[in-house]
């Protein structure tokens, strides 16, 4: 007996979904904002469908560049998505109460990054229907097995962490059973945060270990402790360093787009300070590891270190940029109180940090494959095809859409009502 839905009733129904005391732009304007992203999503899904239904010849990958650019973007997105586990870790373990303001946003960003990355992996893998073989016939020596286990496990943890955020929606929490379930779940968040931190610790590390164990690629191979190469720990520290910065960036972007303040200044300051400190630790470890690798590990395998930087365009500038410009500089910007005071410098430092970690992932993926291993080989160029680019743009579009809908209908920023609309404190 649903009566005909007149447009005005529709708008009214939709406004009831939005949190009380907070206003959002009218629905048509919101749909105007999401339309281009939907188009991008459809275009990307078509590109992915081509790769899935006909074969990976639609990409420009080949037997030398077995991992394409979208694998580097995957790794970068997962590193940036580390904000979720680290913010959770800071809030529930390190008792940093400011994190409460951004924890929901961090969870959504984590969910978006991980689900997008797994979706691209499903398109990149030659036989997605056999993906469960890794669980059924796992090779315990392989880093990729560990990555697969931990990423899928952490994805479910993220979904579980996303549930309470979703169930607090104004309309949903009217159903008593959901509200009770949400409350119970909320009390268990500490457990999930710890579980998420543990799983993220391992798969961020294993993504690094993927390259560190390659005895066949002296550029990537690193000695380590026990079965873990040094890149295992470098990837964890760099992910933890860049997580808060990315949360700060996305919060600032959302503030700019929504037009009102979402978090207190203190939250930015804490995020930046923690991110800067860990970044400096990472830069120190990275420098040490590079020295050991250049003087001991690679030469022992018959490869002089300077040989790695003779193939254009991977000159020594890429090493200095990764450690210096994108490592030391943002680290110093984020750590020094004076620099952090101005929001622009803080955000610029955060952006540099994110770019630094992305560059590290690029170098470990693409440069490792570009460098010849046999003496007579000639380096080769690689350029992604539109299908590759389309698939990854679809993932970005998917992320933006999920974040936009979550921001509109769920409470991502608890302090928003009190800061922007003078409502009572949460």
């Amino acid at each position: 007996m649903t009566t005909a839905l007149t447009p005005s009733m529709l708008l009214q129904r939709e406004r009831e979904l939005i949190r009380r005391g907070v206003d959002r732009c009218p629905l048509p304007q919101f749909l105007m904002w999401t339309a281009p992203w939907f188009a991008l999503l459809v275009f990307g899904c078509y590109a992915a469908w081509l790769c899935l239904s006909q074969g990976l010849f639609h990409t420009n990958m080949d037997n030398q560049y077995a991992f394409g650019l979208w694998i580097f973007l995957d790794l970068a997105v997962i590193a940036l998505g580390a904000g979720a586990f680290f913010t959770g870790f800071l809030l529930y373990v390190a008792r940093k109460q400011e994190m409460k303001a951004v924890i929901n946003s961090a969870v959504v960003i984590g969910l978006v990054c991980y689900s997008g990355a797994v979706a691209v992996l499903m398109v990149d893998v030659g036989q997605p229907l056999r993906a469960w073989f890794t669980f059924w016939h796992p090779n315990v020596h392989s880093m990729l097995t560990e990555v697969t286990f931990c990423i899928t496990a952490y994805l479910t943890v993220l979904l579980i962490e996303y549930l309470p955020v979703a169930l607090k929606n104004r309309k949903l929490c009217r159903v008593t059973r959901y509200a009770v379930f949400e409350y119970e779940l909320h009390r268990l968040m500490v457990v999930f945060a710890l579980l998420g931190a543990f799983l993220s610790f391992f798969h961020q590390g294993s993504l690094g270990g993927l390259y560190g164990v390659l005895r066949g690629r002296p550029f990537a191979f690193r000695e380590g402790f026990g079965i873990w190469p040094s890149t295992f720990f470098l990837f964890i520290v760099s992910a933890a360093a860049v997580g808060p910065s990315f949360i700060a960036l996305t919060t600032w972007i959302t503030e700019k787009l929504s037009g009102h303040r979402l978090v207190e200044g203190r939250v930015y300051d804490t995020l930046a300070r923690i991110s800067g400190k860990i970044l400096l630790v990472y830069v120190a470890l990275k420098a040490a590891d590079t020295l050991v690798w250049m003087n001991a590990t690679a030469p022992a395998r018959g490869f002089a270190a300077r040989g790695f930087y003779e193939t254009q365009p991977f000159g020594t500038w890429i090493l200095l940029a990764e450690i210096g410009v994108f490592g030391l500089l943002p680290g110093w910007l984020l750590v020094s109180r004076r620099a952090r005071a101005s929001r622009a410098v803080l955000l610029c430092g955060a952006a540099l940090a994110c770019a630094g970690v992305a560059l590290n992932r690029f170098v470990m993926t693409i440069q490792t494959l570009a460098l010849p291993t046999l003496p007579f080989e000639r380096p080769a160029q690689y350029w992604p095809s539109w299908q590759e680019a389309g698939t990854f743009l679809a993932v970005i579009a998917f992320g933006v859409l999920v974040y936009s809908f979550s921001f509109r209908y769920l409470t991502l920023f608890p302090q928003e009502r009190e800061l922007a609309f003078g409502g009572e404190k949460e």
């Binding site: 007996m1 080949d62 037997n63 030398q64 036989q127 229907l129 056999r130 469960w132 073989f133 010849p372 007579f376 080989e377 000639r378 380096p379 080769a380 160029q381």
Partner: protein
């Protein structure tokens, strides 16, 4: 209303949870993964008895002995049987399934019945006879030297003013130039298996010249000096590569000849030639710039004179086609000077495979020798890929309303010019034999048997010509007659497939001889010929000019890798055949 929907949801929830505890979802997961290995569009390997039979690969003059392994009677691979095979040989059994294989007759591109072509040709033949005009009925044989070629010439003799044309071939050009110097109509061939030093000028020794696999195996045994302007594959494998100026081939040959005479290293048989004095005078006038240091040329001449038996081959290079007659004459003269003519290891007289006496037919005429517009009807016989011919050469000779028909393995070769094309049975679909190899002195007769049925309306050029000449002839019958003629001649010996020792022909009766030939046996006849003296140094009327070679019509005539799509592994899917320094097609070697 609310409760019924909720009940439905709860029921569905229960069912969902229950399904987890049944095999259904897990079997679905398992079967879909197994489905990915059994897709309907993936080909299944054939089933049937694995058999292997000896036969020969007749895709090029070498005629290597192969063992054809088959499943259910269909060959799945040609493997070496005692002698080496070249890359094209391993994929020879794919020719019958080649994607460009012509399977039905075509008239101007649209499918048509094969019989119509025979009628059209017969009608044109009657028209030529009726008009009593000068026009002739020509057959252009793109695989000359086979038994079928002899049959063509015999049948053309029965058709008044029939002409048998051969394409200008690069291979054996020097051998033909040397034959012109030998007394009588003795044919010469390079006895490569016994050569000690070979100077090849431009000849692509490493790319399918002569008997490719035997050349590869013999490479370690003789010293190869290769002279060419660009770094070709032959330059790669040569022991010494002389980088000469483009077009300075004749200058090089004349230079070496001059040094030999200057240092008195030429062979006595050369001095005895009547035109020796005239040749020395011509040499003094022929001074050319080769781009090599003079002492290197001198050192090369001394090596050639010292490391006997030495020979010089200047057939031509794939880029420019056959060299000008002056270059080949200079090469022949140099061979005479080195004493390489008529002796084992050099250009020895070639033993001819006997043929039935009544097979005398029209003479072989080159396309240039016909006057323009004199061909009323042209039948192209193209049983194999590999021969490319500049069509302008033939077009000039065609009459205004000439009819061009073809019996071809596909419609993409030279036959694409033909108005009528009829599919011809190819290697392994019909009995075939090979022309004499340019690098084999002994006479040999080897045939490949028929393993597969040819396409339904395939007609062999021999059968078609026989119908026009009102005779019944088929390739198998022709080969059997030739085998009988060989058996009647009583020369040579037969090596049965798989045996080592050779039985003299006289020890077998004609039927057993023919049967063991079909079962992959090989007839060989070699006779130590006494030293044949070259009659002269220069073919009459040929000058010695050293200005750059006139680029003849671009005729490759080589056997490129058109036999099977699998040869793309060499030419497209790897960097093996990339010319050094060529712009990178795919990218790095991986």
């Amino acid at each position: 209303m609310g409760s019924s929907r909720r009940r439905l949801l709860q029921l569905a929830g229960g069912a969902g949870a229950g399904l987890i505890f049944t095999p259904a979802p897990w079997r679905l997961l398992g079967d879909s993964a197994i489905w990915t290995q059994n897709w309907s569009w993936l080909p299944k390997t054939p089933r049937g008895a694995l058999t292997s039979r000896a036969t020969h690969c007749t895709l090029c003059p070498a005629g290597c002995a192969v063992c054809a392994r088959s499943v259910g009677g269909i060959p799945t691979g040609l493997w070496p049987a005692g002698e080496p095979l070249c890359p094209a040989g391993f994929a020879g059994h794919h020719l019958a399934w080649h994607p460009q294989r012509l399977r039905e007759a075509r008239h101007d591109g649209s499918p048509d019945a094969a019989a119509n072509e025979v009628e059209a040709l017969r009608g044109r033949l009657e028209a030529i006879r009726a008009r009593r005009s000068r026009e002739c009925f020509a057959v252009l044989d793109l695989a000359p030297g086979r038994t079928a070629s002899l049959i063509h010439r015999r049948l053309l003799a029965r058709i008044d003013n029939g002409a048998y044309l051969e394409p200008p071939a690069i291979e054996g050009a020097t051998a033909r130039a040397v034959s012109a110097l030998l007394p009588g109509n003795v044919r010469a061939a390079l006895d490569l298996q016994r050569t000690k030093t070979l100077l090849s000028v431009g000849t692509p020794v490493a790319d399918g010249w002569g008997s490719p696999a035997r050349v590869t195996r013999a490479l370690r045994r003789f010293r190869l000096v290769h002279a060419e302007a660009q770094q070709s594959r032959a330059a790669d494998i040569a022991d010494e590569w002389l980088r000469i100026h483009p077009g300075s081939e004749t200058a090089l040959l004349a230079g070496i000849a001059g040094i030999l005479i200057e240092e008195g290293l030429e062979s006595p048989s050369a001095r005895r030639c009547p035109d020796y004095g005239e040749f020395r005078a011509a040499l003094r006038r022929a001074r050319g710039e080769t781009g090599l240091a003079p002492d290197r040329l001198r050192q090369l001449a001394r090596t050639l004179a010292r490391e006997q038996p030495a020979a010089v081959v200047a057939d031509g290079d794939p880029a420019n086609g056959p060299y000008a007659p002056e270059t080949q004459a200079a090469a022949a003269a140099l061979n005479v000077l080195l004493g390489a003519v008529g002796v084992p290891g050099g250009f020895a007289p070639r033993m001819e495979v006997p043929a039935p006496n009544e097979w005398a037919g029209v003479p072989v005429s080159a396309i240039e020798s016909l006057e323009d517009g004199s061909i009323g009807a042209l039948l192209i016989d193209e049983p194999l890929p590999g021969c490319s011919l500049p069509w302008t050469l033939v077009e000039r000779k065609l009459a205004k309303d000439a009819l061009v028909a073809a019996c071809a393995w596909s419609a993409v070769g030279v036959s694409r010019r033909a108005e009528w094309i009829v599919p011809a049975p190819v290697f392994l679909e019909t009995l075939q034999d090979t022309p004499p190899a340019p690098d084999a002195v002994e006479a040999s007769f080897r045939i490949s048997d028929a393993f597969l049925p040819p396409p339904p309306d395939a007609i062999d050029a021999v059968t078609l010509l026989a119908r026009l000449a009102g005779e019944e002839m088929a390739p198998a019958k022709a080969l059997e007659e030739r085998a009988a003629a060989i058996h009647a001649s009583g020369n040579g010996a037969l090596t049965k497939a798989g045996d080592a020792e050779a039985l003299p022909v006289t020890a077998l009766d004609s039927a057993e001889f023919w049967q063991s030939l079909k079962d992959g046996g090989e007839w060989r006849w070699s006779k130590e010929t006494g030293g044949v003296e070259p009659a002269r140094l220069f073919p009459p009327g040929a000058g010695l000019s050293v200005e750059p070679v006139r680029a003849a019509e671009r005729v490759s005539g080589w056997r490129p890798a058109g036999v099977s799509p699998l040869l793309a592994k060499l030419w497209q899917e790897s960097e093996l055949k990339e010319r050094p320094g060529a712009p990178r097609a795919g990218g790095s070697a991986s």
